[in-house]
Amino acid sequence: MTGPWLSSKNLGKVVLGAFLIVLALLQLFPLVWVFNYSLQKTGDLFGSAFFSLPAVPQWNNYVRAFVDGKILQSSINSVFIVVTSVAATSVLAFCIAYACTRMSWKLRKVVLGFVSLGMVIPIHVTLLPNFIWFGMFGMLDTHLSLIIPYVAFQISFSTLVIAAQLQSVPLAMEESAFMDGAKYRSILPKIIAPMAAPSIVTAMISTFLADWNEFIMANTYLATDDKRTLPFSIIRFQGVYASDYAVQFACMVLVAIPALIIFFLFSKWIMAGVSAGAVKG
């Protein structure tokens, strides 16, 4: 092939590529903008220039955001709450998914239907009553007041994702294990869970992102500043440093980074999970 490199076929590809790149830049630009001004002095933001790079990077903004935004304490809180919730959600969802897809009992379709109903109910309708209901157990302003509803609301999606995959595992898996005299408590974690691993990972990542980013329940049920989760750091800043935008921007970057890292590490699994969900309908 020695034709001109810019044939009409190539031209189409170039135009398509350019379009996709421009779109990607537009998508990323708001993030770049925030990161850029997080390294400047707040005054630079008010300059007339459309966009300017920092003359001297103000890394000090990050130190202040980290300290005054209580990023460390908030991160510890978030990690504890989210790890507990993700672990509990995936175990409970796996159990329900197994019982409803592979065991034989009358109500299994009803139970699976009830569990999927959880995806339809907006969490916001539980904010008001749970404020009273959790209060009756002295749970308000404790991390348990977030872990329990996080698990309750994420079980639905996780169960459906895992159930979809369990349906494709041959029943012979359990049968041969039973022949060897194994019990459920060893078959489930040792034989079934590994076979459903991709769906469990997908469920865990989507649960992680949902819980890690959750704001309104954390804002409603927690009152003590030292117990708050990471997203609240930004709100804290908007109150205290209302006019110090550069430090606010630094705080936003610090809050965004962990979710971005998890996403880049596991993006393959997220995409795969979405495919599974979409194909299943």
Binding site: L16, F19, L20, A24, Q27, P30, S48, A49, F51, C95, Y98, A99, C100, T101, R102, M103, S104, W105, R108, F114, V115, V120, I121, P122, I123, H124, V125, T126, L128, P129, N130, W133, I148, P149, V151, A152, I155, T159, Q167, P170, L171, E175, Y184, W212, N213, F215, I216, F232, I235, F249, M252, V255, A259, L260, I270, M271, V274, A278, V279, G281
Partner: protein
Amino acid sequence: MAETKPLSGGFVSLERVPMKRLFNNRPVIAALVVPGLLIMVFAMIIPIGFSVYYSLTNWSGIGDFQWVGFANYVEILTADPTFWRSLANVGILILVTVFLQNTAAFALAALLARLTPRWSRFFRTIYFIPAVLSVVVITALWGNIMNPTFGILNKFLSLFTTDPVTTSWLGKPATALGSVVWIIVWQGFGWALLFFYSALMTLPVELEEAAKIDGAGRWMTYTRVILPYLFPVISAIIVIDVISSLKQMEIIFLSTGGGPGDLTQFTAVYLYQKAFVASQYGYGNGLSILFVVVAVGLTLLVQRIFRTEGELA
């Protein structure tokens, strides 16, 4: 005889007798199912029961209260324009996501499907980034971009005008709702794109080739062959759009708080403000209950509509 039976109705067939007792072990079933269901009942179902109870009172949130029967419901349905406004805004959001966001996402997914797997994954990853950020980050981000004094949106528009643009995008009645909807769509777009891309990946190659052999152009192929083929998946996406539109709350709560006036009010924000800001806890619970009814009813309705049409096709 030892063949594994094919899947029936999505459930594993359990007809062979020797194993039946094991798969029918009630204590095991209970141990697997009850803990998860208990948590859902505790944090989701009982609270809704509480809401029903408080919605029949005039409780402010502290102190004593009286039983008022259905007075809150009557007032919400007959004398509360903000409630209807908030539902209308949810409806607008549903229409925007179903028609505008989905069309754009489908078109982009179709373009990405033509790339090599590596490049398409690269772009899908970038376009998905907003979907993994916290709503707090996203709202603060766009609040700053749309800021009247230093926001980059106004600075950008000012490049094309003689006078500097000083629009308060989230504060001006004419632009507030559009701006809020834009933020929500910006965040949700990555999901829509992924759904459509995954759907396109399930297309059999022969489908497009057969259409080409029959002389169909690209437009015809998409509208007459591919879209009808994907109808079941698209209807599932639309159901998801309806559910997620109903669940939008934080972005509005953090950006406009429903204002100016009640122009950007959404039901989930409104019930929260009534209970916790306006100290009308009983009334807020009434809004909650009506909202559950609308959310579940609308979802079932949309599911029903698409199921019947799916059978007709």
